[in-house]
């Protein structure tokens, strides 16, 4: 048995055999004096197969995720039909009389490189599509399997170096027991995907896992980050029990997902969702969310090739607010910069993007971005329970400045006689240690706080959470983070303000009793985590939670904190 430790990225336990996700390299050797018409015939046959494959993917994605997601594949089909591309392949073939693979590769590279040279992010991205299409035809010509998952025909644990969105779109979800990924952190693509699907995952497990062979037995512990290769019988039976317990708790939670979360001593605790678009909004309602604690607005900015207009934003916000009826929806203003870039803004490169011009700091520099968003939010808030939240606030002056711009927008809308909310609740994210330390002063300026534990932890511990080398240090269970959380909650309550949390920690089963004990008023999390979070809240009393919180604040490190709660409360012990 071999034991490895990575980052727990998605709850649950997988016990099964390994499926290695490996991309086979495309190798082309050029040969001369070929029969041009025979080579061309091979090309036409491969083209036909490629069209069938892509049409199939297009239909599949359209049915599963909708037209918008499928569009990239209809664009690829158009590339396969492109007369210029075909001519250019033919020209190379006629001129060089080489093998079709080499001719195609040359033609594809010509087009892709021409696109890349243009000063246009959209076209540069199309170069990728051209190569993707080209590689597909080359794989067909060379007899390489269409996708690395072609041989995946029994439910397995997917083991990979790293996965991209296009890798995952085609994997049959019923064939995935769990993920074990060598690279990446808790916010990597696979981690987010796995949580969305409710599939256990460990990421950042290290390059060593790539030595594991297909078919070997593996256990993936998505709650503590352990991976066992060829586990002993004891381990297997231990984890089989855990899996049973987890599945049972999940089942109970799901059956009560739409009931409120009321503690043993009768206190109702608000459980809401983190969402990023209209589809998420619907999923959140289905999962039992009582509103939205964090509406990320970046999606509107990331999907287009230019800034979204006020009107486009208004329509999207309104569509989301409408899903939730009277429930509150907290809209967070644009949080771009740091690790999130917008290609069309061409923002200057910074040496330290996480400590640079991001989020509210960027918005202050760019009223042409900030004001249309605030105006759209104010309009969408009319007659609805929409609140506005500013990210990355470090000082009191910043809140005052943000508030002044908001008032300016309100006055403009009033003068233009555009209907909008005259009064909205204003809150800030507490994600910078300075804001947590000054929370007693900041609380006087706002209606609520929402603690962003991901950033708060990485800034407090000076450890990049996306860097697998230090991700363990950046744990939100670290006592210094928990002490800051307590400080923030106490300061807000003193001013009669409420405190929510929209960081990953709020949806962590082990963290929930602690946060409840610290007095957190609102728990906001990814929709799939909601049913279980409610069930955990139902299982404890506020008094008991308080005792737990007091004790863990005296502990030394995140491991101690987690084991203490796990040992004490069987419901979170999975």
């Amino acid at each position: 048995m071999k034991e490895l430790k990575g980052i727990a990225a998605s709850l649950g336990f997988a016990i099964g055999s390994v499926f290695l996700y490996e991309r086979e390299e495309i190798r082309i050797e050029e040969c001369q004096d070929k029969d041009v018409s025979a080579e061309w015939q091979k090309f036409e046959d491969a083209l036909k197969t490629a069209k069938e494959q892509i049409s199939h993917i297009y239909e599949h994605v359209k049915n599963e995720s909708g037209e918008d997601h499928a569009e990239i594949f209809s664009a690829q089909l158009m590339i396969l039909d492109d007369p210029d591309l075909m001519d250019s392949v033919k020209q190379v073939l006629n001129a060089k009389r080489n093998n079709i693979e080499a001719a195609l590769y040359e033609a594809i590279e010509q087009f892709a490189m021409a696109m890349e040279m243009l000063d246009d992010e959209y076209l540069k991205a199309r170069a990728l599509d051209i190569r993707d299409v080209g590689n597909r035809i080359l794989r067909i010509l060379l007899g390489i399997a269409e996708s690395p998952t072609a041989g995946l025909n029994e439910p397995s644990v997917i083991l990979a170096d790293d996965l991209t969105p296009s890798d995952t779109v085609l994997i049959d979800k019923n064939m995935i027991l769990g993920f074990c990924i060598a690279k990446g952190g808790a916010t990597s693509h696979t981690a987010i995907l796995a949580r969305g699907l409710g599939i256990p995952a460990v990421v950042g497990a290290g390059d060593e896992i790539m030595k594991v062979k297909k078919g070997e037995r593996i256990i993936v512990d998505g709650s503590e980050g352990f991976v066992f290769i060829n586990p002993s019988d004891d381990k297997v039976s231990y984890y089989t029990e855990k899996q049973k317990h987890f599945n049972q708790v999940m089942k109970e939670s799901l059956s009560k997902a739409h009931e409120p979360a009321i503690t043993q001593d009768g206190q109702h605790v608000e459980v809401v969702a983190n969402i990023g678009n209209v589809e998420n909004a619907k999923a959140a309602m289905e999962a039992g969310a009582e509103g939205v604690g964090l509406l990320r607005t970046e999606f509107l900015y990331l999907e287009g090739t230019a800034l979204p207009t006020e009107e486009e934003q208004y329509k999207s916000y309104r569509a989301i607010v409408d899903v939730f009826g009277d429930y509150p929806v907290i809209l967070r203003t644009l949080d771009i910069g740091g690790d999130k870039e917008l290609s069309y803004l061409s923002l200057p490169k910074e040496a330290n993007p996480f400590l640079g011009v991001r989020a509210i700091r960027l918005c202050f520099n760019r009223p042409d971005i900030f004001k249309p968003q605030l105006r759209a939010a104010l309009r969408a808030a009319e007659g609805k329970n929409l609140k506005i939240m500013f990210p990355m606030v470090a000082t009191v002056d910043e809140i005052r400045q943000a508030r002044a711009i908001l008032t300016e927008c309100q006055n403009e809308l009033k003068a233009e006689k555009v209907s909008h909310a005259a009064k909205v609740d204003i809150g800030i994210m507490i994600e910078i240690p300075a804001a947590a330390i000054m929370s007693d002063v900041l609380a006087k300026e706002v209606d609520f706080f929402s603690i962003g534990t991901n950033d708060l932890s990485q800034y407090t511990l000076a450890a990049d959470r996306t860097n697998a080398g230090v991700a363990n240090i950046a744990s939100s269970f670290q006592p210094p983070v928990l002490r800051l959380v307590k400080m923030v909650i106490d300061a807000a309550h003193k001013e009669g303000k409420w405190v929510g949390m929209c960081g990953e920690l709020a949806g962590e089963p082990v963290a929930i009793p602690i946060l409840l004990g610290l007095g957190l008023d609102e728990f906001s999390m990814n929709p799939p985590a909601i049913p279980i979070a409610k069930q955990i809240i139902r299982s404890v009393s506020k008094e008991q939670a308080k005792e737990i919180a007091e004790l863990v604040l005296t502990l030394e490190n995140s491991d101690q904190v987690q084991s203490y709660v796990r040992d004490l409360l069987p419901i979170v012990n999975f």
Binding site: S74, M78, D81, D82, P83, D84, L85, M115, L123, T305
Partner: protein, 89 residues
């Protein structure tokens, strides 16, 4: 040989969806169709060619058609451009 000078008014220019709609429409005709932007000309039936012209909003293009359905092709592509490719966003 019929030709026409037209202004692209769609906010995205001849990019993304507008470009695909345009190329798909052009591909339905038998005649040869070219589109010229500045000094560069491409077949209107080639998505890669049309995209690489890099036509932005409010720029002018010249459409030329040649062959049996040249007139009706020019007319229908002109309408498509004037209607912002059917989605007045």
């Amino acid at each position: 040989m019929p030709e026409k000078k037209l202004t692209i008014t769609h906010p995205l220019g001849l990019h993304a969806r507008p470009a695909s709609i345009f190329v798909r429409a052009a591909a339905k005709f038998k005649c040869n169709i070219t589109i010229t932007h500045g000094a560069r000309t491409s077949s209107a039936k080639s998505i890669l060619g049309v995209l690489s012209l890099g036509v932005q909003k409010d720029s002018e293009v010249i459409l030329k058609t040649e062959g049996e359905d040249a007139d009706v092709a020019l007319q229908s592509l002109e309408e498509l451009i004037k209607e912002d490719f059917g989605d007045a966003k």
